[in-house]
């Protein structure tokens, strides 16, 4: 083992090098060669062609955070469910029972969240 056997990774390195070169070229060469004509319209913030409204850095409502927090928690259950689903025939009824128990507890969490108003938007 060692560096000698890593030959097959060379194309990947070439790809990386090319990508880097292209990016550097676009970023640094274009301003040098391209024409520069400024106008007020051009320097304005671009908002789909219409006149910009409000600040570019507006704050999101806290409610989005609440949804995000909820999403994270219920999203990760997939980490446990997918491996079970892949071999669920081998695991049989026992595996089904265990997974149902796991999901039942999660459901209780959902019930708690629902009843305490975590899913209300207003």
């Amino acid at each position: 083992m060692g560096a000698a056997v890593l030959v097959e990774y060379i194309p990947l390195m070439v790809l990386f090098a090319l990508a880097l070169a292209v990016v550097l070229a676009i970023v640094f060469v274009t301003p040098l060669v391209g024409p520069k004509k400024y106008s007020e319209e051009k320097m304005d913030a671009f908002e789909c062609g219409s006149d910009p409204i409000g600040q570019a850095r507006s704050r999101f409502s806290v409610k989005f955070y609440l949804i995000a927090i909820t999403f994270i928690v219920f999203d990760v259950e997939a980490v446990f469910v997918i491996p079970w689903a892949v071999i669920f025939q081998d695991l049989g009824w026992y595996g089904f029972g265990v997974m149902s128990f796991f999901l039942a507890i999660l459901t209780l969490g959902l019930v708690y969240e629902w009843k305490s108003g975590g899913l209300e938007w207003d």
Binding site: M1, G2, V5, I69, T70, I72, V73
Partner: protein
């Protein structure tokens, strides 16, 4: 395991990521960035687990999936920590209107 990346490389990479995360936690002040650094550390650990697991399965020929299982648990745990951490950051923001860790210092005498 001809042509595979040796274990050491994974370990060096994960140690580097872990160190970046660790230094970030100690030096940065913005709570969200601190939080991302913690996630970085946990993911570096995941990488270590997976690298060892793969090495033991491949090079040593012992079917060893423990590392994979552990990284699942770490992912679930990181999510739980994320939920609680974000909630804590939100409550700090409500009081202070910013989320810098060492400002205010209400608790210092």
């Amino acid at each position: 395991m001809e042509g595979s990346v040796p274990l050491e490389w994974y370990l060096i990479l994960s140690a580097a990521i872990f160190a970046i995360g660790g230094v970030g936690v100690l030096l940065r002040r913005n709570a969200i960035i601190l939080f991302m650094c913690i996630e970085l550390m946990l993911n570096a650990v995941n990488l270590t687990f997976l690298a060892f697991s793969r090495y033991r399965t491949g090079a040593l020929g012992a079917l060893d999936l423990d590392g994979h299982v552990m990284s699942f648990f770490v992912i679930a745990l990181a999510a739980a920590e994320a939920a609680v951490g974000l909630a804590i950051i939100l409550s700090i923001f409500r009081h202070r209107r910013h989320i810098n860790v060492d400002d205010g210092n209400l608790l210092k005498n």
